[in-house]
Structures are given as C-alpha cells and as structure tokens.
Amino acid sequence: MGQLILRRTLYMIVSLWAISIVAFVVIQLPPGDFVDTMILRIVQETGEHMEEEEVANLKRLYGLDKPMVPRYFSWIGKIVLRGDFGRSFAFNKPTAELLAERVPLTMFISFLTLLITYVIAVPIGIYSATHQYSWADHLFSGVGFMGLATPNFALALVLMWLGFRYFDISIGGLFSTEYRLAPWSWGKLWDGMKHLPVPLLVIGTAGTAGLIRVMRGTLLDELGKQYVITARAKGVDERRLLFRYPVRIAINPLISTVGWLLPAIVSGEAITAIVLNLPTTGPMLLQALLFQDTFLAGSTVLFLGGLTVFGTFLSDLALVWVDPRIRFERAQA
C-alpha cells in the first residue's frame, strides 16, 4: 500500500509538471504579448503614439523581453521555491492573491457537484437496473439523454429566462447585490446557499446523466451473473442479495470514473460561471486570456489541471481501499 501511494504520488508530480508546461506554452501561443495588447488599447483609445524605447522598457519591466524557455523556468521556479505565482498584469496584483479569492469557491462548487452527482446517480442507477423497462426507468433514461445533450451554458440560459419570466427573480451571480462586497457573515453565507442550487443543477446534470447510465449498465451485467442466481435459488433475501455484492461491484467503476468526471465538472463549472457570472475561476480565466495576462491565465490553467489530477489520485487510492480484489492483486505484484 505504501509503495502504491509513493508510485501514484510520483506520477501525480510528473503530471503536474507536464500540465505546467502545457499551460505556459499554450498561454504564450497568441501572437504578441500583454504589452502589445495594452499599447494597442492605448493607441485606440487615446490616439497617443508610443516610442519604441518606452515599449522596450515596458517589456523589460514585465520580463517579456526574454525568450520563452528562461521565462518558463523563472515562472515555475518561483512557484515551487517561494509559492510566488507572478504578478497579474491586468489587475496589477500578485496572481496568488487573485487565485486565493476564487480557487476555493471553484473547488467547493466542484466538490459539491461531484458529491450531489453521486448521491443522485447511484440510487437512480440501482432503481433503473432493478426495474428495467419500467416507466420510471424510461423516464430517467429520457431525462438523462436530454441532460447529456444540453450544453451547460444553454441550460443556464434557459433557467435564467424561466426564472426571470415566471418567478421574476434574477438567478445570476452567487450573492445578492447587498452582500457582494460585504465581508463573510451568516447572512452572506445563507444568501450564497440560496443561489447555489441553480449552478449545481447546471453543472451536475450531464455528469449525473452519464453516471446513471454507467451504474445501470454495470449493475444489469452483475445481476445476470450466476452467483446472483445461485443466491436467489438458495432463498437469500432480495434486498440483502442486491446490496451485498452486485451493488458493491457496480460502484467500483463509479469511483474510477472520477478521473473523467472531475475534468468534465471543472470544464462545465468554467463555462457555467461565465454565463451565470459566478465569482469563480472561469470568468477570470476568460478575461486573462482575452488580455493575454500570461501569469494569471497560466496559473489558473495550472490550478484547474492540478485539481483534476489530485482528484484522480484520490480516486485511485479510494478504489484500492474499496475493492479488495485490486488490493490483493497489487499486493501480489
């Protein structure tokens, strides 16, 4: 077990390192840099002309005069050694500060969505498998297909429209106006809780629909196996029979799916947050990309990627813990 954790940890570190390179390179791909974008804006707005020397000075100030490789190492070096994520050009603030404002909420919403996805999908999956082709099974399948087919942002738009049209409420944002800038209090917490259901519904729908299908499929396979038939022939209580083995086995793939469910949730969270104007990392990333705010965009992608890699790492460990067969196999090897 100790060796397994060590190996997975190493693998996680290599993945994080790879993500940091991908993030940095991708962010640098657009032609021009932050200074160019800024100068273009200034020229467009004021018509002022900038001397070449001034431009060069600005570039030196932001460290944009060096080639990409040294810049990458200076960026990643500071992150690893000092926890310094660089400065955001556009906000003129340390990137770490901006991330600290938004990352916790992203993590909270992603985690909560994941949890709710399981809480809803597992019972429905079990019900659908044990009542195959009942009207409820068909209903869940139908709703599930709709959920998979509707883009997150479109669902958010439709809900916003319904909320405005029929309930006369605006469901954008995570806090009402009076709480938006207020410090944390019980009132603000309660206000946030009231706004949460819509984003959770929007982000969680596709994942829940997918998971119900996986759960139903695996459980159906399990229920047709001979050990189930044998147990039933021996007169084992139907409920005990279901939960003792088939459900336990069907839950395993669910844990290993965290690896793809989590990236999907983080992706969905990003776009939903842009539409619903949630104070999470999604809108910030979009802004950073549009302004070529290199360090902010790179660090955000790094964080989101890191979040999913870490989630996958945890799910790997959980799988070993839950499934004695895997534990046994690994111990033998």
Binding site: I19, N152, F153, V158, M160, I271, L289
Partner: protein, 377 residues
C-alpha cells in the same frame, strides 16, 4: 440442406429456414438486421439525414439570405403561420407585424395586424444566394413578397431572420463535428495502432500521454488554444483552426479503442490461422483485423461527434470560437448572452433546441450502432 424439410411440421420448418438465413448471413447483414430493430436509432438516423440535407440546401429552404437585415423589424417575435382568415380557409399565410413603442419604457412592441394577411408563396424569387456554394440563384422554396415579412423564428437584434440563420448556421455546426471526427479518427487510428501493434515501452509512453490528456479539463485548454488563433485570420482558416483544436483532445478515446481491440484480436485463433496459411501482414490487417473492429470504430466516431458540436458551440458562445460573419449555432447564441435580451426575446434561444436535437440523435444512433456492432451477442 435446401428447401423445407418434409419431416418437419410447417412452423418448425419456417423456424429452421430463419435459422438457416441467420447462419449464412454475412456480418454486415446481421448488423443491419439488429440495427433495424433499434427504433430510436433508426429515427435518430432519419432526423440526422434530414438535418444534414436541410442545412446543405439552406439557401433554398430559407426565405432570406443569412445576412439580410431589416432595420424596421429588430427583435421581432416569431410570426405564426395560419390557415383560416375571417372564417375562410385561404392556405398558409401570416399577418403583418405592426410596431409600436411602449410610451414609458420605449420598448418596441409588435402586434399582429389581423386585417392584413399575406399568403406564403412557394418557389419565390427574392434574395440572391449560391445553392450548394456555386449555383447562383434567387429561387426560394417559400417566402413572401416584400414589403410583407416572414419571420418564422423571429429576428435578432440587427433584424435578421432567425429561421434562415439557424439553417445556415447548422451547416457550420454540423460540419465541424464531421470534420473534427475525421481528424480525430486519423490521429486515433495511427497512434492507437502504433501503441497496440508495437507494444512495450512505446505503448506505455503513449498510454501515459493519453491518460494525461484525459485528466486535463478540456474547456480551459480549448479556451487557451483558441485564444491563440490570430484575430486577423480569415473566417475559413479560423474554422479549420477551431476544428483542429477540438480534435487535438478528441482522439484519445479512439486510440484506446483501437489499441484494446488490436491487442485482443492479435492473438485470436483466426489471425493465427491466417498467418500460418501464409497471409502477409497487410492481408491480415486488411482482411481480418480491420473488419473485426471497424464496427467499433464507427460506433465510437458517432459518439464523438456530439462532443465536438458541443465544444464548438460553447467556445463560440463565449466569443473564443467562430466569430461573425461566420454563423454557427454557438455564434447565434452569443446574442443571447445578455439575459435581459433573452427575457424579452426568448426566441433567440431557438438554436439551443437544434443543438439538443442534433446531439440527442447522434447519441441514439450511436446507441443503436453499438448494439449492432456485435451482432453475435
């Protein structure tokens, strides 16, 4: 064994004949038989075929050109097609729209003028367009003669007909999926094939890379990559750029399927038998391996298309994907970004319906194909 066996009763004979047909049918015939029983998949396939054909001849089916603007009717609501006017059946027609302004909010209010019916004409000559991209014509399947208007899905904030635009946009949205899947297919088959065929260290490295790519949240990465497309690029090049970006992350699943199937089949008895009887590697791959997993590839491709369509729609919606003057369903939805506009003009959300229907039909089709892919089960 030909003809009914006289020793059997008629019912059993019929059954035996059915069995006989089953045994001699080719793999593809069996698949088609099984697929035909999946009604949802058949319906899905039909709807998709219709969508592709309809958007293909979008110019002919839409009453207006995609960029035709009507400054008198900004954000006009959909006009209802009616049949009965003044108690008389006069064929399909619409009432003209009358515009007034709310004296307080200064909002435009459109009301139907029920005294002014306009018959919908068939095969009318109005806006010029190019059919299939090269036949210059101005013939439309249906429309009304100006100054009458025919806005079946309403108009957008610039007074352009949503119905026509949705049809034109479908062309781009639907083809992004197909083109992207083609690129993914090539990447997936080549990389997955190498992985499964060579094996060993190469296989391990490729599998690790795939696992890594799957673990990255796609949307932030897509956002980063599309932001990298130069804003000065012409529309067509941006379109190809976006498609390539979408397929860069799309090939991983396919590569896994190809590799898994190759590994599974490589040691199969029929492959060994072919090899022993002196078949070359090329023959083994072409005659024995490819047909065995081609059906799985098709299933996987069908299920990969919706992801591409959803990806393009989302990227265009937030302004990082395709941009006007190109129209796709995502581009059309950008005018629905402001939810006050949506609240007052919900018809701007109509493209969502098309996205949902397209994606669902692809999923049903894929489901049916998956069942049919293994007809011996």
């Amino acid at each position: 064994m030909s003809g009914p066996d006289p020793a059997l009763p008629p019912a059993a004979a019929a059954e035996a004949a059915a069995d006989e047909r089953y045994y001699v049918a080719s793999q593809w015939q069996l698949m088609w038989r099984k697929f035909r029983r999946h009604h949802m998949a058949l319906a899905g396939g039909a709807v998709l075929l219709f969508l592709y054909l309809a958007t293909g001849v979008a110019g002919f089916l839409s009453p207006y050109e995609k960029a035709t603007r009507d400054a008198d009717y900004l954000l006009a609501p959909p006009q209802r097609v009616r049949l009965v006017h003044d108690g008389r059946l006069i064929g399909p027609f619409v009432y003209s729209l009358e515009r007034t302004r709310d004296p307080e909010t200064l909002q435009r209010i459109y009301t139907e003028n029920t005294g002014d019916p306009h018959r919908i004409r068939f095969l009318v000559r109005t806006d010029p367009y190019k059919l299939l991209g090269f036949i210059r014509t101005d013939l439309h399947l249906f429309g009304v003669h100006p100054p009458a208007t025919l806005y079946l899905f309403g108009t957008d904030e610039l007074g352009r007909d949503m119905f026509s635009r949705v049809l034109y946009a479908g062309r781009v949205s639907l083809s992004v999926g197909l083109l992207g899947v083609t690129i993914s297919f090539l990447l997936g088959v080549v990389i997955g094939g190498i992985s499964g065929y060579v094996g060993g260290a190469v296989d391990t490295v490729i599998q690790r890379i795939i696992e890594f790519l799957i673990s990255i949240p796609t949307l932030p990465l897509w956002m980063g990559l599309t932001a990298a497309l130069p804003p000065k690029w012409p529309a067509l090049r941006v379109y190809f750029g976006i498609t390539i970006i979408l397929s860069i992350l799309g090939w991983t699943g396919l590569a896994r399927v190809v590799r898994g199937k190759l590994l599974e089949l490589r040691g199969g008895d029929f492959v060994v038998a072919a090899r022993v009887s002196g078949a070359t590697a090329g023959t083994v791959i072409r005659r024995h391996l490819l047909p065995s997993f081609l059906s799985y590839l098709i299933v996987h491709l069908t299920l990969a298309v919706p992801n591409m369509i959803l990806g393009e729609t989302a990227l265009s919606f937030i302004g990082l994907g395709l941009k006007a003057p190109v129209v796709s369903w995502g581009v059309l939805l950008t005018s629905a970004q402001n939810f006050r506009t949506v609240a007052l003009s919900p018809w701007l959300l109509i493209p969502v319906l098309f996205v949902v229907v397209t994606v669902m039909t692809f999923m049903f089709l894929g489901d049916g194909l998956r069942d049919a892919a293994d007809p011996y089960k």
